[in-house]
Structure formats: C-alpha cells, structure tokens
Symmetry: C2
Subunit: 342 residues, 2 copies
Amino acid sequence: MSNSTPATIEDVARIAEVSIATVSRAIHMPEKVAKSTRLKVNQAIALTGYTTNAMARSLRLGRSNMILVVAPDIGDPNFSSILVGLENEARAHGYGVLIGHTQNDAQRGLEYLKFFNSYQAAGLILFTGILPFGHQAATASLPPSVGVFEPVFNGGIPYVGVDDVEGARKAVDLLISEGHRRIAFIGDSNTRLAYGRRRLGYEAGLAAAGIPLNRQMVLDGDGTVESGRLALEQLFMRDDLPTAFMCVNDQTALGVTLGLKARGYEIPDDFSVTGFDDVPQASFMTPSLTTVRQPRTAIGKHAMALLLDMLSDRAAPETEILLRPDLVVRNSVGPPPDGKKR
Amino acid sequence: MSNSTPATIEDVARIAEVSIATVSRAIHMPEKVAKSTRLKVNQAIALTGYTTNAMARSLRLGRSNMILVVAPDIGDPNFSSILVGLENEARAHGYGVLIGHTQNDAQRGLEYLKFFNSYQAAGLILFTGILPFGHQAATASLPPSVGVFEPVFNGGIPYVGVDDVEGARKAVDLLISEGHRRIAFIGDSNTRLAYGRRRLGYEAGLAAAGIPLNRQMVLDGDGTVESGRLALEQLFMRDDLPTAFMCVNDQTALGVTLGLKARGYEIPDDFSVTGFDDVPQASFMTPSLTTVRQPRTAIGKHAMALLLDMLSDRAAPETEILLRPDLVVRNSVGPPPDGKKR
DNA sequence: CTGGCCACTGTAAAGGTTTACATCATCATC
DNA sequence: GATGATGATGTAAACCTTTACAGTGGCCAG
C-alpha cells in the first residue's frame, strides 16, 4: 500500500486491468469512460493512494498549476491577510501558490520572471504598482497577470482593489457630518495611483457639502509616518489650521497623531484624524484610529478568482474590480472644538 | 531572440554545436567540461535566454526545487516576517517557496501532504506545533521537515526557534530588578511546548533571586486575549495580588492590560506587565508593551538553511536551533507601587 | 447481410531533462 | 609502436503524463 516509491498511473492501470490512457481519462474526462471501468479505476486509485505527478503533467501540458505571487515586501502585515484570500481560492481550484518578494529591486524582479518561466507557472499576481521587471521585460509579452490593491502602471493589467474614491468619500463625509469644514488632506502624491483616487474622493466630498477646495489644505506626502509629521509641521507654520486631518493612509495618520501629541494636543478634542487601510495597528493606537478598511481577504479571493477565470479564458477579463470599503469608526474623530454638536 | 516558445536545451546545443548532454553538464558540472566548450555553451545560453524547464528537470530527478511551507494561519502577522527569512534563504539557493495554511483542519493538512507528493517538493517547513496531518500520515515516513517557532509534537523533527527559557528569564529578571517580588505567571498550559519552557524561565528567575515559587501565582491560559482577562479575574477574587504580571505571550498581556484598565488601574504605576513575542501591535499598545522579541526573520532564515542542509545531507541535522531572544523594554514595566526605587 | 455509426479502449508519441554507458582522441609509458 | 589511462563528448534510455489516432465490438438501418 504505502510503498517506498509513489504509485504511478501505470500501477493503477495494472490493478484496474485497463490501459494508462483509460486511467487518465477516468480522472480528467470521466464522462468518456464506461461506468464500470470508472469504478475499477477509482478503486485502484484508492488502493494505491495514487496522486498525479504534477511535474510530469506540467511537462506534458507545457503549463503548471502554480500561481506566482510577487510582492515588494512579503513582510508587510497587510500582505498576509490578502494571501489568505489568494491561497484559499487557488487551493479550491487545485492551484498552488508560489511566493516571491522583490524588495523593489528590478534585478530580483527579473529573476522571478525567469523563475516563472522555469516553473511554467500559469499566472502571476502582482502587488506592485509598477511592473517589478525592468523595461525590457515590460515590453515583452507578459503572462496572464492580475494586480492587487492598486493598478499596475505600465501594462494593461486588470486589477482588484478597493474603491478608493468611495472610501475617501466616506471618511470625509464623516468629518463633515461631525461639523468640520476645514479639513486637510495629507499625502497628495503621484507615487501611487490609489492616492490620487483618494484625493478625488476628498474633493468630491467637499464639493457635495458646498465647501470650496482650499489648495493650502492639500499637502504632499508619500505615505510614510515621517511624511505625516512633516506635513503637520508645514501646516503649523501658517495661520489657518484645519480642524481635521484626513490622511492618505494609516502610516501618515500615525505621523500626524504623534506630531499633534508632541505639541500637546488632544485627539479628538482638539483635532480629528482619519486614516486609510485599517492596518492591524490602527486599533491599538491611542486614540484608536478611525479609518477606511480594505477588505483584504476578499480582495485576495477576487484577484485569484479573476486570474483563474482569465486562464480558462471564458469571457474577456474585466479591467478593474473595485470592492466596497467600509468605514471603521473608532475614537480619533469628534466634532471640531468650536462645533455645535457637543 | 524572444521567440514564442521558450528555448530548450536542444536549441542551446544546436547553437553551441554540442550535444544536449554537454549543455546539461556545462550547467550542472562545469568542471567536467572543457573550458572552450563551456564558453560556447554559455554564449548560446545568453543568446537564447534559455532557462531550464524545472518541470522536466523535476520529473527526471524525481524531486523538485520547491519547499512547502505550511502554517495553521498565514494571516497571522507573525507569519509574514518569518516568511521573509524563509523566502530569502530559499531563493538564494535556487529554491522556490510554496505556501499553504491548514486552519487547524486535519483534512486540509492531509490535502497538503498529497500536494507535497504531487509536486515532489523537496522539503517541508512546519509552523504547527502538531503535525497537520492525521495520525495515519504521522506514522508513515515524513519528508525532510523543519519546525519553526516551536517544537513539533509527534515526530523527531528538528526545529528552529527562540530560547524560550532565556527569554522568559530576561523578562522576569527585569521585573525583579525593578523591585517586584510578587510576580504572577499567566498562561500556563500544555497546548504549546513553548509555553512550558517560558514557565521554566520564570521559575528559574525566581529561584535565582531567592523568591519561593507560589503556585497561586501561576495561572492557566491558552494564549488568547480572553485568557488574560480571565486569569486576572481569578486573581482579583483572592486577597494577595501580585505587583507584576508576566504573560506567556503578547495576546495574554493585552488581555491583562485591558482588564486592569477596566478596573481603573494605571500601568506601570499600579501594576507592571510583560509579554512575549513582540507582535507588531505591541509598540502601539498604551502603554507600549515591554516584551521579548522573537527574531522572526532570522528564525526563518535559519530554518530554511537547516532544511536545505538536510537535503544535501551533509552532517546529521541538529535537532534544535535556539536563537537568542532580546528583551524590548518599553513602558509597561516600572517599580512596584511600594517599591524603594522610585 | 452489409455498411456505418457509436461508445469505449488501447497504442504510441511527445514533452525537456539528466546520466549511465559508450566512444573517441590524446598522451604518457615501456 | 603497442598499451592503457585520462579527459571530453555523444547516444540513448528513463522519468510520468496526456492525447491524437487507431482499433474493437455492438447495434441499427437499409
């Protein structure tokens, strides 16, 4: 039963007294095989504990059942919950998940492209906003790919993410409903397309409330803690302070929060702060951060499903799947100090 | 140059005007090939952009260059930084990393065992304290495996982790040096071997300071937030409270912290608290948590290195590699309320 | 009875690689 | 100059699977 070498299709065929072709058919095209034969084959499979040799199969098919997932940094805590969605969906369809991380090194990205070819992976999931391969590879034809989290810059690659505009809109709407009218947007940047969309949501929210856009209230920032701190410093050098800070992501919000605390202010009594992403730390900050949640596991699931759909090429791939973000209301938002609501 | 179908070893052989055997040798046993030939082959490889077809190679060798990493939950934020170490080390040696997660479901564990065989993976990295496969598989011969984080119960599987005894010792020593003598240990349990070791460190620390072990001060707990809360309730139902809570992990410490805050106590003024693991949230708690850091990336690196060593079977595998844990001193520890030091 | 169709099954080739074995040239030794 | 050792290379089999094609037998219609 449990021999030293694993059972091959030939072992199964011998026991079931059929040819190996029939065994293969019984597995992959059961309707093409007589019921009685199918039964014999299944028994033989159970008896031998046979599992298809994926290597032989992939060699024959010229394509393996593996999906390569490449992120700039797999150590990012945001990454892991997406991975859950990706893996579950892949597994449910008989695919395996290979992972890699580039550390934003194009050289490493190219290595993964080689790796991809070597392992004949069926598809590619990209976490990077940019193609992790050098320009030469970018022009060449890419394997079936799906972007996650944010659009991939230079390639018509479909992507699955959150509706950034709507998410930002929810945050700004909350602030407005609390009575804020001077709301700063921190983290304007062209490093990430997602950031631009969040700003769009911010502007739309202001417009809907009839609040004119004040360009002085839009500050640069690349999404790091430091950038939040820095933007804050710039604002405090002027006269007209906002009453609320809407940050492009949670890191930035953390920077702002730390900066405000360092100046002796209380949140949300003196100022309100919102973030975006809902990183695991957000609920542990003091005060806990009101932010926009990325439905990470769902994003992963949809991304993998989309890729798998593309592989079995039914229908043209959508270019964009946007999931609805939820606002997570915690304790970093309140009415403005002079607000009427308190 | 970049054709539709990828170049095979035959293409390389034709261009280099040698046989495919020579090409294969030039790649894998360069010293067995004349220098001039090697040069021709390398040129041809560069010209064609040839990459070995890993499927064909694995089929021939009966073993692939893939390592399967199985965790109960890949969504665990602790997991990702280990993954970084694992992946880097694997990649450096030309191995790919496949991931899976069992969600503590034995059925799923078995699926991964099948998967392992099907993909002819070279080795297995286990995050589980128990073998994720049912008992039947446990008795069968396992592939080369390495445990990570904590010993694997039922199997003589080497593992890489942190020296739990030493880590706990550092935590208790800090508390003692601050003046604490009534120190509770929360999270005694046999669900995880690591927890038992941490208790050992706790006891050793007390003994070294000449503090008699008070069994009333050792409370059960399975490492969840709730278990921390629960243990606290139990303690408060007695007369003799400790001045410090040494928790078996950060989750438990969080539970204790929340419980103390709910009762209106200040940390570290009224009570001191320590954790273990240094999860990403620990620095965001209020007060930020003094805890023992697991060098996660290093653990991953060592685990993969050990596994790879075992595969090329030089030397017998060590059964245990314990890394030195560092104490991360933050703000949850101070002298006891009646302490002399303040 | 013949021919044709159908449902099922078998034969054999192909996919790309590694490696045992065979071959061949070269060179040192006596 | 014959012999054998050495080093470099080629030939061909094997790894396990899928699938095009061919074959078989049964059955029905003419």
